[in-house]
Symmetry: C2
Subunit: 354 residues, 2 copies
Amino acid sequence: MARVAKGKGVVLRPHVKTHKCAEVWADICAAGNTCGITVSTLEEAEYFHAHGANDILYAVGLAPGKIARIAKLVAKGARVTGILDDLTVVRLLEAAANEHGLVLPLMIELDVDGHRAGVDPLSDELLDLAAAIAGAPSLHLAGVMTHAGGSYAATDGATLNSAAQNEASLSVKAAERIRAAGFECEIVSIGSTPTALAEADLTDVTEIRAGVYTFFDLVMAGIGVAQIDEIALSVLATVIGYSRSNGCLVTDAGWMALSRDRGTQSQPVDQGYGLVCDEDTRPISDLIVRGCNQEHGIVGPRDPEERIDFAQYPLGTRLRILPNHACATAAQHTSYAVTESRTVVDVWHRTTGW
Amino acid sequence: MARVAKGKGVVLRPHVKTHKCAEVWADICAAGNTCGITVSTLEEAEYFHAHGANDILYAVGLAPGKIARIAKLVAKGARVTGILDDLTVVRLLEAAANEHGLVLPLMIELDVDGHRAGVDPLSDELLDLAAAIAGAPSLHLAGVMTHAGGSYAATDGATLNSAAQNEASLSVKAAERIRAAGFECEIVSIGSTPTALAEADLTDVTEIRAGVYTFFDLVMAGIGVAQIDEIALSVLATVIGYSRSNGCLVTDAGWMALSRDRGTQSQPVDQGYGLVCDEDTRPISDLIVRGCNQEHGIVGPRDPEERIDFAQYPLGTRLRILPNHACATAAQHTSYAVTESRTVVDVWHRTTGW
């Protein structure tokens, strides 16, 4: 991703919510071309600041009650940028920032695809918001940002490229409108793993954000931006029984280990709760996790009419399950077992909480 | 549940997987009438043994590779009982138990409703399994157990009572068949929160297992065994924005805080990702969490055509979200904030991992 960003003439602000792990972040830094991090919780901000991150974008709408914790990070030398998309919050953030003696950098969140949050880049509201922030003495308008969450619905390259170009063009347009209205707008921050890996002209974009590329997952493979053998995260499971009535294996990896994410359900290839591999992470043709209980996984052929030959999977057989959504599956665990072949060569802690 | 069990003439073996918390377990013990605990992972067994639990049923099919950890618990004075449902595993468990110098208590898992695992209580296989265990010098046949997981699909009392009676009757029948064949079968262990709270004659059942009753949740309310105001677990969320296009609030509690569990989806009342309450846990009529991203919750009226009056929910408003499935939502957190009214009076750690 560092190379991709460089090729597009932008810097990378990796989203750390996928891995929440200092060692992974150190590897990302070693690849170069980063400008800080993106976080989804203040806990992530605090954890990664303690591990050396200084330029932090908190990419979830900022509530005034969270300024006190940001002020503590700022006092330790961090630059923490918040985002907002609503005029009514400016007054509240100004009061809170002023109370804590901050000049708080803020970016306006843009809605480029009707996905979740953000203001219309072509609206009057965008300029009203820019004016309100620029006019608030304890706030600083740092730029615009968007997350093209709608790109996750793409399943072909043309749709994805179109989503990526739309994200870039509308963000640049919003920045131009803000500048034309007489306000500063230094940063144009866009991104998501799918759009970052798509083809788009990023002229005048300054940075891209991406997170799930760190591990990749089946959803990314379904979108077409990753190959199955590029997925770096899997859950090691053991065969603990047989469901003879439906011809399935029972494993000890249920939703507690895999998460309940069913992100591939709406894709052309539904991977159930995960794609099943052998212990060396080679996919076993068309075996998926069909169902999950808390600590039980039900493994069977994708075709529900087919049955597993139990003799091939003696009790105790170990399998690796590739996840639908790396962020969700990793979140079910407190550490990563780093492996070379079948050997665990290190254990990396991941942080948790809010 | 202690009172319910006593009224039915059985003891309670609470399942600790819901709460994974020593303080909660201490409260359960204080209510009396328990005979030990049920666990779903060996980590739970180790944690609760360290907190005083000695009689532990590991209610997930036992793989031979896990005997080494059980042997360590036994060496510390614990009685750990495993379960199995397959003849092919007996030889493997015998070898592993023998290697570790154990006489390992085992219960035969019964399938009373085609739900997941277990042997047919009326089958020849049951007796073959009993004979194999009884004939293995390092194994001890402790009894039979079942989990009527199919009862979770019940949405009326008659169906539920029927599921509960079926669970009890078939389990007692299985024990009788084993005894008639000349083998010991001391324990008849059944249960789930729904069937434990249903009406059934439990004559000759010795213990019931239940877990989610500890907190209750929306799925249990949908089945009819809990009232909404009996749900003891909620996630505190803050309004951080507005999704003006669809008339929804945006909160900072997404699936990372709530889990992806959609257990009420198949019930008559679909509660989305959770039922929304005010800060005092009073449900706000028909507000649910309609959608979730990692750290964003989308809160709107159950009827997707309706819109929220944003003026009633200023930025920073705090809401409490009741969970679909207490086990899943609690698992997203590392501790419980114990509250009296709005005041946090204690923080209880919960364990995690495998």
